[in-house]
Subunit: 165 residues, 2 copies
DNA sequence: GATGACATGTTATAACATTACATTTAAGGT
DNA sequence: ACCTTAAATGTAATGTTATAACATGTCATC
């Protein structure tokens, strides 16, 4: 039972509850892993959860600084790294930016990212099918995949409607 | 008939001929497209072709400067952008770096990249299977994919042997 | 030989990321 | 409670990657 359906990310939804539930789930995950969701880390996740767009580290940093945390880059990068390590956020390579995980603990930590070029929202689609295909392609030449980044650029359902007519 | 088999990239091979053939093919492609493979651009491609590792823009820039071209970042970025636009090179998002295309004109311009974490070589495997799986995952939520970056990290065949025993 | 499109050179700066070191905080053992 | 230690945070300095903006040069075409 995903917290939010991938398709809903691109549509208006009860975002307050979407964010609150994800945050609650994040706390459970940290608890279970014996990891500490400290104030900066928690606040960083809250900031990322405000939007489904990816956010740059410096934008996060500005927000943290406003809240009284340090205003040097490592403050943001450390918190973001923690979140990524624990599967609570993802780095979007294509954008050099970060986004809160919408499925923490979900689909085997191997999502594919769908990045809308018009509204800049980022959704996570289930990755297993794509991973399998990738494994096949790699195995065919003897390459052993450890992890993969799959990022698609295109138009989300809502923006397709806006653009076409 | 690919210029070089993906698997060979990770093994010793006649690299001089590999590079020369690719360069020749690049010239044909530019000709056919009415694009000009000017001295900087050609030299940039030659530099990338020296190795199957991805190369950062500033490393390329240094090489160009040595050869008497300008030594400001745009010199390298413009040449690299040209090569990428014409399918003669690829940007590897994960590494913020560039690599010469080993299959110019080949497998529908939709390769998946295999990045060896030990020797840092980058190979291109045929992407269609992966693209199809990605299309399926995206279509399921109404997302229209325009292009995608698929990058796998792991160990190439040669480095698996080196590491295991 | 003027025009216009493309390509290159150069300056400056923006945007993203890390190293290194000092200080504080929290957890566990005695 | 107190000490020890590991983890987390703060801060300064710097490194790396990328682009904007504008000037100059080159070349094909008319």
């Amino acid at each position: 039972m995903p917290l939010i359906d991938p398709a809903e990310v691109f549509q208006p939804h009860d975002h307050a509850s979407c964010a609150a539930q994800t945050l609650a789930r994040a706390e459970e995950i940290c608890d279970a892993a014996g990891a500490r969701l400290t104030p900066v880390r928690r606040r960083t996740l809250e900031v990322l959860l405000e939007t489904h767009k990816a956010m740059g580290a410096y934008e996060v940093l500005d927000r943290l600084a406003e809240d009284g945390f340090g205003h040097q880059p490592p403050v943001a990068y450390r918190a973001l790294d923690f979140l990524v390590e624990h599967g609570l956020a993802h780095r979007i390579q294509r954008l050099n930016a970060f986004t809160a995980c919408t499925q923490p603990g979900g689909h085997a930590h191997a999502p594919v990212f769908l990045i809308c070029e018009r509204c800049h929202a980022v959704a996570e689609a289930p990755g297993p099918g794509v991973r399998d295909a990738l494994e096949n392609a790699a195995n065919a030449i003897g390459f052993a995949v450890e992890r993969a980044h799959v990022e698609a650029l295109g138009l989300c359902p809502a923006c397709q409607k806006e653009t076409a007519p």
